[in-house]
């Protein structure tokens, strides 16, 4: 068992559930939609293993059907934004039937216009945040683009947390049995309080002295 696996297992034992991360992403798209008074907003995550984009959160149009749907990472506007790492605004795309079909396939309806921004965390492009169909009367400004860019930073962190949690859980699910034991112990310890907890920690120290006397991280 590698040190990384062990860390992941301990982390997985005390992590918030998948549900909490989903709620965070959902709250982000709800706020993005409200900020721009838009008809819909969505977050897609890049699945590097399959080179696909996956809908992780949707507010407004498509919210009941899109979660979990996948499309190739190089396709459509989200693909552009991801590979160029540049935010983009498109106005009145509905006149282009080819574009309309592509977008409709990935969103469930044909928007008039959209704003899309890459979700970048450290060196990685994690996905794309899109805001679809702002009110027709409002003139788009660079200040809005900057605001969306700033907001995307928060969305990227949420997506990074979700991915980390998933990686930790997959290590737990696929790793050897002893990893799961460590995770269960970590989770159980997290829940103990008072003298029971102190006793459990003393026992863990004793265990460490027996099986890894020279390997304390400090």
């Amino acid at each position: 068992m590698s040190r990384d696996e062990l860390r992941a297992a301990v982390a997985a034992g005390v992590l918030a559930s998948e549900e909490v991360h989903r709620e965070l992403l959902q709250s982000i798209v709800e706020v993005a939609r409200a900020m721009f008074a838009a008809r819909a907003s969505s977050i897609v995550l890049l699945d590097e293993a399959t080179d696909e984009l996956v809908f992780e959160a949707v507010a407004g149009e498509g919210s009941d059907t899109l979660i979990g749907q996948r499309f190739p990472s190089s396709k459509g506007i989200s693909g552009w934004v991801l590979v160029t790492r540049q935010p983009l605004v498109l106005e009145d795309v509905s006149q282009d039937p080819r574009f309309a079909r592509d977008v409709a396939e990935s969103t469930g309806y044909v928007p008039q216009g959209l704003m899309a921004v890459p979700l970048l965390h450290e060196e990685r492009a994690l996905g794309v945040l899109s805001v679809l169909d702002r009110p027709k009367a409002s003139q788009f400004t660079l200040a809005e683009m900057d605001l969306l860019g700033l907001f995307a930073g928060q969305a990227a962190i949420a997506l990074e947390l979700l991915q980390r949690a998933r990686r930790a859980r997959s290590v737990l699910a696929e790793g050897p049995e002893e990893v799961a034991i460590v995770a269960r112990l970590a989770a159980a310890l997290e829940l103990r309080e008072g003298t029971g907890r102190e006793a459990a920690i003393r026992l863990l120290h004793a265990l460490e002295d027996v099986i890894a006397p020279n390997d304390r991280d400090g």
């Binding site: 080179d51 990472s73 190089s74 459509g76 540049q86 935010p87 983009l88 282009d96 683009m145 700033l150």
Partner: protein
């Protein structure tokens, strides 16, 4: 000692050799926008669109001189071959159309580094840029960037190499709080957006890393299938400045990237007042 017929070493300049640098006594004349690019159409300038490819014979783009696609072989070596597919997503076509609108007589070359999936895109980008620099294009438009730190050193070397080989790299800046390349390097011309609808308006930014702002809001750009669509983003500000560079270089092919940047400064809307 070197005779006068031999090239002057790049690392020193002997007192009696200064005359060989050969600027006309009146160079530069008073630098105005009219001197810089008035009546210019980019004739004789090759502009490389390093992007997703360019759609053939799009009415807003016209002829594409040569199009290649870059991919990686099994051992990670770069493969550059004729691009038969055109543009897979539309981004490169949009950029090419903007360059064409400003420099109608320039020669547009397409180097496709985007569009064939996401994985490995940083390596392909690097290989494509290396190839483009080797071709000696006068202008390379990069409406894209990478956030991979492992590529920053190599990109930096390529940007410097382009700079000294008289290839102007025009690169989109990021308006997001992330580190990305190559727009942060001083050897490139980095471009952000302004809201002015004038395609020839550009601003010098005295607070880098973004050095120039060009038109990037509500731009009608070429779209796949021969159409157009209204777009906003630094991706579209960048080819505006590439087009302006092509016009300047068409009139003044002798300019080095350093001199071109100086001309851009002296003719910027906020410096020359549009004169």
């Amino acid at each position: 000692m070197a005779s006068r017929d031999e090239p002057i070493p790049a690392w020193s300049l002997a007192a009696d050799a200064a005359g060989q640098l050969g600027f006309a006594a009146n160079w530069p004349e008073r630098v105005t926008r009219d001197w810089a690019f008035g009546g210019g159409d980019g004739e004789g300038v090759r502009v490389c669109i390093l992007d997703s490819g360019v759609e053939r014979e799009h009415p807003l783009v016209g002829t594409v001189e040569r199009a290649v696609a870059v991919s990686l072989g099994v051992d990670g070596e770069a493969i550059v071959e004729a691009d038969e597919e055109g543009d897979l997503c539309g981004h490169g076509t949009a950029c090419a159309g903007i360059v064409r609108s400003l420099a109608p007589a320039c020669a547009i070359h397409s180097v496709r580094v985007l569009g064939a999936g996401y994985t490995g895109s940083g390596d392909v980008l690097l290989a494509g840029l290396r190839w483009a620099v080797e071709q000696g294009f006068e202008v390379i438009n990069m409406s894209l960037s990478t956030t991979k730190r492992q590529f920053s050193g190599l990109l930096h070397e390529l940007a410097d190499s382009a700079y000294f080989r008289r290839t102007v790299l025009v690169a989109s800046a990021h308006n997001m709080p992330v580190e990305s390349y190559p727009w942060r390097f001083s050897a490139v011309i980095s471009v952000g957006s302004h809201e002015d609808p004038d395609p020839l308006a550009y601003y010098y930014n005295p607070s880098p890393p973004v050095e120039f702002f060009a038109r990037g809001v509500g731009v009608d750009v070429a779209w796949l299938g021969g159409g157009s669509v209204r777009c906003t983003g630094n991706s579209f500000a960048t080819p505006h400045l590439s087009g302006i560079c092509a016009r300047i270089l068409g009139k003044h092919p002798e300019l080095t990237p350093f001199q071109l940047k100086s001309v851009l400064l002296l003719t910027a809307t906020n410096v020359a007042g549009g004169q």
